[in-house]
Symmetry: C2
Subunit: 302 residues, 2 copies
């Protein structure tokens, strides 16, 4: 399947699942609106793509085959996307990055209010664990627990939230490459890795070789994504990026470009890209889309 | 066991468990400090008491018998307390209740900063689900999933976070008794009920009669707690309360006293107290501490 069609099919599929999931009866209708607003924010659904891509790399899962009830793979895709959406809502808050716009639309605390945005983020996080713990015919209970634990570890103190805190601590400080990598591995890498592992684990038990391959791939594309972000911040323009070009430099934020130079960063992205592709040969299923995602990450222009 | 000793033993036990749990290796040390600060905030640990009390009401669980590794009951007690602690941190934020002090100590965003407080709340929520999903020898995987699902439902859109949103919506509005009850049932009642059900479910499967008894007890004490809060806001003084007496009236917040009068509220508290005690007769174990907690709730002076 061409990557563009895989992207489109996956996005339609995850959007349908999320819409269905959030169509629940709730007394707190205002809060539910804010949650819906935050989940349907025009994002590229990279993490769900990784869930579906990893599922295909381990089994005969086909993103084209729709099932009546959400497939276990869909639950994972929804859960990681809800965690991602919650993190964006909280990151945008005045006390954090203080962003009024995200992808051209008012951020949640602008469209609603700050208190509602805090609660919407909170409730989206809870919803992720709620849906992963609901009874699911095509998953063994031990697998469900594993998925919940992978997601929790990737989201909290030793994952995304920890990385956000490390990022806050780094502002206006001179940090080294090791700190930068630890920070990104927590802040974005952990959830990217969780998406891949969850997509894989909900198909079958993974053997140690496959686990190692998935982890290598995940780590490489997670880092490559960040390196490419730093490169684009320097070489792109504001219109293409959809956000202020040169923002990192202006904020005196440490980046790969500031630490190892533009050529060094480009070389690093190329190496990571190759590491990711090489790792895929150890997987039994169709790794076409995981390869496409790796290509997309280093070739994207925004 | 006397209630005072049960309280003391339970509080020591939960504090030890939480200290151990948070003594984990983490790169994000600043965030971990904020999480620890928020969990050890001098609270009365009412929800862990309910977990332990419900465990005793269903089985031979004894809060005095310490085990080397945390008992499944301790996991539940820790998880509900972490959810409660996260909710207090977020409730105290400037965009929410804007409180500088909690039990005489600076609130998390004052002791640290607002961004760290948001992240500490976020990560405490995650930690609750992380520890409930870790492999636990004395729990069946299906039971673990049930516990996670109970806690998630009680904390999110259709529970605590939803209740907080309903509360925000009610400010400066004329609401009726039905709205007030729905709001409190979500905001505080849901987590109280979850504490009781989790304490019970991690001992054994609950039969429908026991489940009904526990739910009746939970609903009655949850509501009684709120009614008594509203009574104390009128009849107590600032020093005894540890917070501003008359604060609800000053904020024009709807309360049981404002809606049904002081005598009506007192009568309601008495009726709810009796309903809670009556429900306990359907439980097989030692219900002494659940009865004591019901007594404490309507007889407390702060």
């Amino acid at each position: 399947m061409e990557f563009a069609r895989f992207q489109e099919t996956s996005m339609t599929r995850i959007d349908q699942c999320l819409k269905q999931q959030l169509k629940q009866k709730a007394e707190a209708k205002h809060l539910l609106s804010a949650m819906e607003y935050s989940v349907f924010n025009g994002g590229k659904r990279v993490r769900p793509l990784l869930v579906y891509g990893a599922a295909q790399a381990l089994s005969a899962f086909n993103v084209d085959e729709q099932t009546q009830a959400p497939h276990a793979t869909d639950l994972c895709a929804m859960a990681v996307e809800m965690i991602h959406a919650y993190s964006l809502v909280h990151d945008d808050l005045p006390a954090m990055d203080d962003d009024d716009l995200r992808r051209g639309k008012p951020t949640c605390h602008i469209a609603f209010d700050e208190a509602t945005a805090i609660l919407a983020g909170d409730a989206l996080q809870t919803e992720a664990f709620s849906l992963l713990s609901q009874s699911q015919a095509d998953l063994a209970p031990t697998t469900q627990l594993k998925l919940i634990n992978i997601l929790a570890q990737a989201s909290g103190l030793i994952g995304m939230a920890g990385g956000q805190s490390l990022d806050l601590e780094a502002v206006d400080k001179q940090v080294d490459l090791a700190y930068l990598e630890t920070m990104h591995a927590h802040k974005t890498g952990a959830l990217i890795k969780a998406s891949i592992l969850m997509g894989a684990y909900c198909q079958a038990d993974i053997n140690p070789t496959q686990l190692k391959a998935l982890e290598t791939y995940a780590q490489a594309i997670g880092l490559a994504f960040q390196v490419q972000d730093d490169i684009l911040d320097v070489i792109s323009d504001t219109k293409t990026l959809g956000k202020q070009q040169g923002a990192d430099a202006a904020l005196n934020k440490p980046t790969y470009v500031s630490l190892i130079g533009l050529d060094g960063a480009k070389e690093k992205a190329t190496t990571l890209h190759q590491t990711a592709l090489d790792a895929l040969s150890d997987l039994p299923g169709n790794t076409e889309q995981l390869a496409n995602i790796a290509n997309y990450i280093v070739k994207r222009i925004n």
